[in-house]
């Protein structure tokens, strides 16, 4: 076991959620945390509470007028017509009480995790509440109000002039918000592997989106076919990310670990299993040690099967971040507690059983199309990275 790992969390972070039947339910974070505890993965570790991001932190990537509107929204002080200009008060991003405070704490969590790692106090750090990658400069989008990763990257750049940061996003949706924030910045490599935007939100993330001006070659996108399964997902990941990171040479890796590419996720059409959610962190961990002295910050992201997928995916993530073995069986007390509330039967193993996810009928075609995407990526984009 090498350096120290830190789990950044505070119950206040669980106030980020939109209430009612909204798919972004903060119980997902509660269940993940309790699963880590139930599996014994928090023994010897405690949670480090972050401070909320300041207006200055937020203004690195958001406009002041947007921040003011979010502040007013959460205290019932702004008319809906004003909020709708910023896509707040919509079906996706409804107003909730004290939403600014909750969102600013999420940003504070990711900033804190990055500072700990860059300052050397931690080798790796995790904040599962982070990963709100769709938020735009003056616009809430796709359940994301403030862009925590964007603000954390911008702050790191200010505090460590010349730093090179690799942002690696394996959420099923394109990491558009972060990509656009650093689209012409050659010191920030954004890599997003996601379901093709041909049908899925937000619609962007084609191979040809590769950066602008001085940043050409520093925005990388690997769009996958709907119904991509584990083997093809992992093949695409291995064929693109390690080489890109080696060429770029980061000082820190920030990974967004959304787990909505799972077959059970209700919002996307990718068909992976927990195998991907062990493979991805394990490899990012290895690459962080190979390339940047282990400096790795992981955040959460999407994931809308909050009962069967999110807790297990993020417990596996914490196990990797903290250099621990993931136990095989789910803790009985956790199953008993959450089983009572869950509308679906909960798995009793931490890993999916491959036999339950047989190859889909068109697996060969999906794999073939993904290989074409990789070939295009290698031909057109990778060579731009010096």
């Amino acid at each position: 076991m090498s350096g120290r790992s830190v789990f950044v969390h505070d119950p206040g972070l669980e106030a980020y959620g939109f209430g009612g039947e909204h798919p972004f339910n903060p119980l997902r974070v509660r269940m993940a945390i309790e699963l880590c505890e139930g599996l014994g993965l928090m023994e010897g570790y405690s949670f480090l509470a972050p401070k909320p991001a300041t207006d200055d932190d937020l203004m690195t990537v958001h406009s002041l007028s947007y921040i003011r509107s979010v502040q007013k929204a959460g205290h019932d002080e702004a008319p809906l017509s004003e909020l709708l200009q910023y896509c707040i008060g919509t079906q996706d991003n409804p107003v909730f009480s004290k939403m600014h405070e909750a969102c600013a704490l999420v940003v504070g969590g990711t900033i804190e995790a990055c500072r700990l790692v860059m300052g050397g106090e931690a080798e790796h750090a995790l904040c599962v509440s982070g990963g709100l990658h769709h938020a735009l400069r003056s616009k809430a989008s796709g359940f994301c109000v403030y862009n925590d990763a964007g603000a954390a990257i911008a702050r790191l750049k200010e505090e460590h002039p010349g730093i090179r940061i690799a942002y690696v996003d394996t959420d099923a949706h394109h990491g558009d918000g972060v990509q656009w924030m650093f689209y012409d910045d050659p010191d920030v490599l954004t890599f997003s592997m996601h379901e093709s935007g041909r049908y899925l939100f937000p619609g962007t993330g084609g191979v040809e989106e590769k950066g602008r001006n001085g940043g050409v070659g520093y925005s990388l996108n690997v769009p996958l076919q709907p119904f991509t399964q584990d083997a093809s997902f992992i093949e695409c990941f291995e064929e693109t990310l390690p080489e890109a990171l080696r060429r770029f040479g980061p000082d820190l890796i920030l990974s967004q670990n959304g787990c909505d590419a799972h077959a059970l996720d209700p919002l996307t059409h990718l068909s992976t299993t927990t195998r991907v959610y062990e493979h991805v962190p394990r490899r990012i961990h290895e690459l962080a040690h190979e390339l940047c002295g282990g400096r790795w910050v992981a955040v959460g992201g999407g994931g809308y099967d909050i009962w069967r997928v999110v807790p297990r995916a993020w417990a596996a993530l914490w196990a990797t971040v903290s250099h621990q073995e993931l136990p095989e069986t789910m803790p009985g007390a956790w199953l008993a507690k959450w089983g009572r509330q869950s509308p679906v039967a909960l798995p009793d193993l931490t890993r999916d059983i491959a036999a339950n996810y047989p190859p889909i009928g068109r697996a060969a075609q999906v794999e073939e199309r993904n290989r074409k995407t990789i070939a295009e990526f290698k031909r057109k984009v990778l060579p731009l990275l010096a």
């Binding site: 919509t90 079906q91 996706d92 937000p202 619609g203 962007t204």
Partner: protein, 220 residues
């Protein structure tokens, strides 16, 4: 927003009938363009493309090429019967003209004056705007019968779900042997599941996203 004048390029490079093939080709290469309107006394008299010029000169490597390029005049090779567009034409009309006549560009003429040029790539850019592909959204393909009010019913269902529509395109006769239309709707939401459920409940087949990997209309 979707007129020729909104998509055309206003700075048009032109040549005269006396321009040599060598000069015209250099211009095409340096400015990365394929078509040059030909003006005489301020009036457009023809159109020349880099392809026409190449076709009429000896191939690269031919010893006679340089001499021929200097000798041939644009006026000898240009097309004189030219399709043009009016700045107030709808963009789809210009696109149809380009498609049907298999041409890559339309000079835009207002009265006697050449005011712009419209190429296939300008039309493509207009298409991207038209489908709202630059706004975050989810894409649904929906089949609906060709009768008055059915698209309004679809829109009503989307409205009842509280979801904003980014764009709508509909192609008539594309479904069920021509008896139905297909609408492509971009919704400003990451979560179209409620809309999909309501549409299917109301009898509008959703072709994408399919509920299973083998579902209908799955073009990948």
């Amino acid at each position: 927003m979707l007129l020729v004048r909104d998509s055309m390029v206003r700075e048009v490079l032109t040549v005269s009938p006396e321009t040599t093939a060598a000069e015209a080709l250099t211009l095409c290469r340096e400015k990365r363009i394929r078509h040059l309107p030909v003006l005489e006394g301020g009036r457009m008299v023809g159109l020349i493309s880099d392809r026409d010029l190449r076709a009429s000169t000896p191939a690269l490597g031919d010893a006679n090429r340089a001499a021929a390029l200097d000798k041939i005049r644009v006026g000898d090779e240009m097309a004189r019967e030219i399709s043009t567009a009016d700045p107030d034409d709808p963009i789809e009309q210009a696109a149809m003209a380009m498609h049907e006549r298999k041409i890559g560009c339309l000079p835009v003429v207002e009265g006697e004056d050449l005011v712009g040029i419209l190429t296939t790539s300008d039309v493509m850019a207009a298409l991207v705007r038209l489908v709202g592909a630059h706004e975050p959204g989810s894409r649904l393909e929906i089949a609906f019968p060709d009768r008055p009010g059915s698209l309004a019913d679809v829109a009503g269902i989307v409205r009842d779900q509280g979801v904003n529509i980014v764009s709508v395109l509909s192609a008539p006769g594309e479904y069920d042997g021509g008896s139905g239309s297909v609408a492509v709707i971009r919704l400003a939401t990451i979560n179209p599941t409620g809309v999909v459920r309501s549409l299917e409940g109301a009898g509008f087949p959703v072709l994408w996203p399919p509920s299973t990997p083998g579902g209908p209309g799955q073009g990948l």
